[in-house]
Amino acid sequence: MAIIKVFAVLLPLLLSGYGIAAASSESSSGASGNMAVTPAVEAVHGGVEAAPEEEKAGAVIMHHILDNHVFSFEPFGSVELPRLSLPAAVPVLGGLDISVTKHVVMLWLVSALLLIVFSVVGLKYKTLSSRQAPKGLANAIEALVDFVRLDVAKSNIGHGYEKHLPYLLTVFFFILFCNLLGLIPYGATATGNVNVTLTLSIFTFFVTQTAAFKAHGVKGYLQHLTAGTHWSLWIIMVPIEIIGQFTKPFALTVRLFANMTAGHIIILSLIFISFILKSYVVAATVSVPFAIFIYLLELFVAFLQAFVFTMLSALFIGLATAHSSHDEHEAAVAHH
């Protein structure tokens, strides 16, 4: 249900995005891509005059969702973020554009927040004896940590789950804080950017593959790719299994990115309904109540998607490390 809704909202925006991109690249040549969008924003904020308003609404929504080289605090002004690129001397990545964009700033804010919160909590735990109960922030964090530890990691990975806990906990809180900071005014959702979710999924992919290699060895890993079938089926099974290894992180990427983007698009669309219809009645009866409802839903989704990403990562690690030799043996017995 939810996925269908998300795609119903996303599909037109994905398509309109191409149109805007084409228009902006025509009007402004290359470097200052944001210049084309800014007047449109001002037009909407300063009162609706120009003819194709729907298109402008789409442009403003895209401007809010997409990454940008300017961190804007309308109407108080904006901060131009530095444009950097790696020196050409660096191998492989030489000359890569590593400009600090809005989403990079958000990532750093999230990281700073994470480091502050968890240093405080960690320090509390260092001074806490085992006979004292944790209070306040430490208690709140502990509930989440214990949830990830037992219900996500232990129940999905099983034996040897402790090794993967630091990764799972970090990815959970990283995504959670990203999601929550995106709900704050002037904030941006870094997890609503496909590049960020892709990177996180790639980490999960590497962790999963490493765990599989460690659990089964090279021979066991290759055997795993045949899924225990007869050798004549290998020509079909092996490509399917290899594709399967990549669809898992792909699904993670799209799920998180789409969920976080969709919520913001819905909120902005609801707000823009009142601008397009130029009606206070619509604003009071439709836009604001529904936007608030979606906002509260987004709060829930922020937790839910952080949980789902962590849960699926744990599940993939669990599947990769599970000792399937038992199942295979049973299958072989049944076959003969």
């Binding site: 995005g17 590593i98 968890f118």
Partner: protein, 175 residues
């Protein structure tokens, strides 16, 4: 091909941005390493420790329960043993008392019989002595009568009368 793909997707939601991927990777790895050292170590350590503490507390409680149950069983056994002991002592006392009583009654009966026997003997002796005394008295009286008869006259009728009256006297005297 990569750059053409980037241009195709530029401005859309799927816009690739290698710089952002680079920064995400760097930021995430640094956060992961710092948090692993600063937070996850102490927190997970504390959780593990507490879990073990709770488990050991539960184990100890179970152990204490088992111990107390064993002690209770032992106490019950001791109590039963003491009960049996006291029962035995009471029974023995009763038996002893019974035996003692029987002994005493037997002894008393024997004593009484003895006393009765001795009393009978004494009565018999007294009786015999009394008879002896009576016999002597009678003999004396007879001798005295005979003396009187001889003294008065040797008249047969007289003598006969005398003897008769004497005997009459004797019988009245005796009665």
């Amino acid at each position: 091909m990569l750059t053409s793909g980037i241009i195709l997707l530029a401005g859309s939601l799927l816009e690739p941005n290698p710089g952002l991927i680079f920064w995400t990777a760097v930021t995430f790895v640094i956060v992961l390493l710092i948090l692993k050292k600063v937070a996850w170590g102490p927190i997970l350590g504390a959780l593990d420790e507490r879990e073990k503490g709770i488990q050991s507390s539960i184990d100890r409680a179970h152990q204490a329960k088992d111990e107390s149950e064993a002690i209770l069983l032992k106490n019950k056994q001791l109590l039963a043993k003491a009960d049996a002991e006291s029962d035995r002592i009471i029974r023995e006392g009763k038996d002893y008392a019974e035996k003692l009583r029987a002994d005493f009654t037997d002894k008393a009966q024997v004593e009484a019989k003895k006393m009765i026997a001795s009393a009978k003997d004494e009565i018999e002796q007294e009786k015999r002595r009394a008879l002896d005394v009576l016999r002597n008295e009678v003999a004396d009286l007879a001798v005295k009568g005979a003396e009187k008869i001889i003294k008065t006259a040797l008249d047969a009728d007289m003598q006969k009368k005398i003897v008769d009256t004497m005997i009459q006297d004797l019988s009245t005297k005796r009665n």
